[in-house]
């Protein structure tokens, strides 16, 4: 093992548990993240171009709260599996990394200002939106920075010469394509979100509803094409041994890649055709495949350096079981609360 890579700690149960939990919770986080980032971009775009802002923009603060909340479990599980690399990468770029926290707080408040002041003080609202957007973009940039640095431990050594925590991973060739891939995907998913929101909130106005859905499905399709271009760039900007896993070197990864291409093509078609339901289904499957491919990519980067399968497990299952039980109970409680919230007063 490279001498600058710290030793990992022991994990309580087999690593695959955490791998599954990581993928599942990251998908949820990713969806919400796309909605707030893409939603903010769309809102700003509409505001600048004088159009009516997307309906669900009013829910941005709520989405921010849930996005941050749903960011917790993937961050937790990634630390369980890759903590020794993740912490080292974090320390290496500690200053911009810790600034994510005030950025999130201000961005969060910005989203509230945007929503609460839209009518009374539009300029202040726009400022809130811009500030919020910039800070969310900054947060995303830092997450990409940290994720990519985690994959290349040889770059940790930069810390030895510059221990002040300012070593951004700017030199990483895949950094910008990856970042832009995420941003454009977010806009695409957010457009899909606007369409879904319209579907549910404009039931009384079918014409307007279908117009909004059509417009945003087109936006979705175009941005999917753009993000596909950035995605391809991102893919090819990775080291040869990494991108080659999707070109036959790893059968599962290659199948997933092929599948994602086919589904993406089909999805663009259905979107242009204005088919909301089938497009959502496509998008969700593609997103799941992308998240799984991301894990394959991570493994390829860290090949010969580290694999979670090397982690020693204590075999302490009861805490996992308690968690799973409480997780299900928690979902039940959330369902119950939403039911209660949506119940009409007269019925109670």
């Amino acid at each position: 093992m490279d001498p600058v890579i710290p030793s990992p700690d022991v994990i309580p149960v087999h690593w695959l548990w955490f791998q599954v939990l990581l993928v599942v919770t990251f998908i949820l986080h990713l969806i919400l993240m796309n909605l707030i980032l893409g939603g903010s971009l769309l809102a700003l775009w509409d505001k600048i171009s004088g159009k009516k802002e997307p309906g669900y923009a009013v829910t941005l603060p709520v989405l921010v709260a849930l996005t941050i909340n749903l960011g917790v479990p993937p961050l937790l599980f990634v630390q369980v599996l890759y903590g020794h690399l993740f912490y080292t990468a974090s320390v290496t770029q500690a200053v911009p990394w810790i600034l994510v926290i005030p950025a999130l707080i201000l961005g969060y408040y910005g989203s509230y200002i945007y929503v609460r002041k839209r009518d009374k003080s539009p300029q202040l609202a726009t400022t809130g939106l811009v500030v919020s957007l910039l800070l969310i973009l900054y947060t995303g940039f830092m997450l990409v920075n940290n994720s990519t640095l985690t994959l290349v431990p040889s770059r940790f050594e930069a810390h030895l010469n510059n221990p002040g925590g300012m070593n951004l991973n700017i030199g990483e060739p895949s950094l910008w394509p990856r970042y832009l891939h995420f941003i454009t995907s977010a806009v695409a998913i957010a457009a899909l979100g606007v369409a879904i929101y319209a579907k549910f909130t404009l039931k009384d106005n079918p014409e307007q509803s279908s117009a909004v859905i059509r417009t945003n499905l087109r936006r979705f399709a175009w941005f999917t094409l753009v993000q596909f271009a950035f995605g391809t760039l991102f893919w090819l900007s990775t080291p040869r041994e990494v991108w080659m896993i999707f070109m036959g070197k790893n059968i599962t990864a290659t199948i997933l890649m092929t599948l994602s291409w086919l589904l993406a093509a089909s999805m663009i078609y259905t979107a242009f055709r204005g088919k909301l339901g089938i497009t959502i289904l496509h998008a969700f499957i593609v997103l799941v495949i992308m998240v799984i491919m991301r894990e394959y990519m991570r493994s390829a980067y860290l090949k010969d350096i580290f694999s979670p399968s090397q982690l020693e497990s204590k075999g302490e299952f009861w805490p996992l079981i308690v968690f799973l039980v409480l997780f299900i109970a928690g979902l039940g409680a959330i369902y119950y609360m939403i039911r209660l919230a949506t119940k009409k007063i007269s019925q109670s």
């Binding site: 710290p6 320390v91 925590g165 109670s348």
Partner: protein, 882 residues
Amino acid sequence: MNYPVWYLPGMGGSLLIAIIAIIHVVVAHFAVGGGLFLVLTEHRAYRTGSNALLDYVKSHTWFFLLLTMVMGGVTGVGIWFIISLAHPAATSFLIHQFVFAWAIEWVFFIAEIVALLIYHYRFGKMSRRDHLIMGWLYFIFAWLSLFVINGILAFMLTPGKWLETGSFWHAFFNPGFLPTLIFRTAISAIIAGVFGLITALFRKDEALRQVILKWCAGWMYIPLALLAASAIWYTFAIDPQALANILHHNPESSLFRKIVINSSVILFGLGLFTLVRYPRKLQGITVTFLVVITFVWMGGFEYLREIARKPYVIYETLYSNGIKPNEMEEINSSGFLNAARWSSIKEVSDDNFLEAGSEIFRLQCLNCHTEDNYNGVKNKIELMTERGIEAQLTGMGRINSYMPPFAGTETEKKALAAWLYRELLGNEPEVIHQPEIPVLSHTRPSFDNSKDEYVLLLWNDIGMKCISDNDKILAFLPPANTLNAQLVKRAPIPEIIKEGYNLKWETEEQHLNPQNHTDFWEYDSIIYGKNLPLATGLTGSKLSGEMKSVNGIWIADRIPLMPYRDDGTYNPYPLITVTASDPDGFVVATTSAVAPVSTEMGCRNCHGGEWSWNGVSGLSDITAQNILVVHDKYSGTSLADEAAEGKPRLCQECHSDPVVGRAGKPGILSFSASIHGFHANYLTGMYQESCNLCHPSDPASATNCMRGRHAGFLDCTSCHGTLEDHALALLKGQTHLEKADRLAASLQPVSVATMEEINPRTPWLMEPDCRGCHTNFNIAVDGFEGSAYNKWVPGASALYRMRTDNQGMMCAACHGSPHAIYGAYNSYDPMRDNIQPLQYQGLAGTIGTHESCSVCHTTDMNTSGHHRNQINRLYEAVLQYE
């Protein structure tokens, strides 16, 4: 050590953690208590039918949501971020140990968020019953979040059975779990009360405002009893050492103790004003102040909790600097830099000496300290020398267990000390000046073996004598040099003259004005309670006078000698000449002996400052003040301030000491046990070198007081043991005192295998017995085992300086002073300590050696009348002829 260190020399990760944590902790507790506050206030509004109160609940919910969900939620993630940067090893440990606890906490957290969002956004849009259910659900989930986090936080200080079993459940339900859960629940309610005041102020209806203020006051005061009870319970759950550290030992905690006490008084004192009706603006000021104080109050609590854990970040598992206790042995043998993954230097060399020190500081110290800001190192070491810093590093984690021990080799320790002293403090490397020793001479009184009828034997009682010469600041050894004499009338069976004669002493020229060289007589009233005439000692002795016969021994008691000659020369060996006259006034004998006195105590080697006397000797003001500063820091005294106010103290006022004749104060260690016990923790593993650092026993010192015949082949440790041995025996003599255990806790004996084998001793009264080696007065035949260490004489009367032979002659009369046993060599004047043997027998050995019985006996002697192995003893090695 496993992880890189974020280099923040001016700020430190701890301060960043504190900033984020204090905000989060207050808001997070508010998120719990505030939830209950909302739902109960809503209940009350329905019960009283008050729409105005309900309106208040609604507006408070919005404030609550903005504060707890945004600030509370994100700062929670912020703590996670910042601890992973400042303490990655600990964070990794906690994440892996408690991953499912964190995951469970997340489940409660998301349920909490959903409940709150619904509670807020659906306020007035749901049935009362359902809305109240939502409020209760919010509170339950929020409290369950606290339940989970509390288990992890409490674990860090009280891991309990987990240390043995490694079980998740033992870790989570640790001894501190329940008391802290109750404690934090009570705090949550109190904070809910305080924050409830904020939105209450925006109510324009004065009557309603007053109702809410009183309601909030109830929230502040009702949980107080629970808070106090759980706090007391908690003190029983934590390690007594941790409790002692925050209550007594760790100086870092004193500020936060004061903060907690004062902020509690202000918070709960000022809080009472909420019950009184007064103008809204003033109420606004009061509430703002209460909110600020709440943050201060919580900050104080959290800081104390953090400090209680020190030196660990996870108790008994991981030191604050990321090193595990079980790694220490390996690191100390193979080197810290070698073991540190994130060091570009792997071994200390002459070329990288300071750079290596800097690297060690960065990797081992910066986790908690900054260079010169919060918890900065600079102001902690600026009074020390490089040697002192090294000692400080040695002592870390010993007496004051809140610091982790230094991890690394001796060379690495020196490199760190050098970097701290030279680079951080900006000092030049210390240059040790070799003192110039003046050449002195003496005139030896005559003796005619064929004519003279009397032999006068004179000696100093302890053979080496140090005095403290900065009474302006402190005192512990006054000028007081005692000489003993025996007068023998020569005959076939000589007679020891015990009374009726007159023995007068006189001090050597150049030493007759001690008052010009010390402020002893300026501060004698303050320190000793006596207003003495100049040049007069504590017992009234002057520089000349008549010896008194006490039990047949002639004594010149505590002559106030100084080692400073009037001509500016340092002479630690002034001569005292005694003239004996018979009852008719005829002079029958005259002799001289050295009265050793030195001010060359090496305090400055560690405590800084220069020598006060011509660069040779003497306790300078800076050195003395620095000593008091350290004493004040560790013992909570205010001696430095008192000295600055012109009230210097005698150390033995509190610390008992037979040699100064002070009983001290009950519960406090003797001076010897205290000073040796304390310093042994800082000067560990140094053998003779540690003796030399404080006492003038180094052959290269200006005094070089070890001048007896043993000097060539024995050192201090041969009889007294190493500093650790010496300290342990003294401390064992006072094991009834907690302080003795504390000082002894980290010391390992060197001369014996275990602490149990050490025989306790009383300072000055139970010294090493000469017969420890000289078993039966014939070492050449009998041999000996071990050393004199641990073979103490049983009491004062059995001391070498107090004992006699079979004929009533004192041991020291014939063998010389302790530490200057005849056959001595004095670096100022080679034969200065052998005046009498040379005067009476022409040989620098024991009186009577080499069949020199005729010194006293006027006939030939053929039996060992004084003790075994006296006659026919020709042990050449120890003889020095003039």
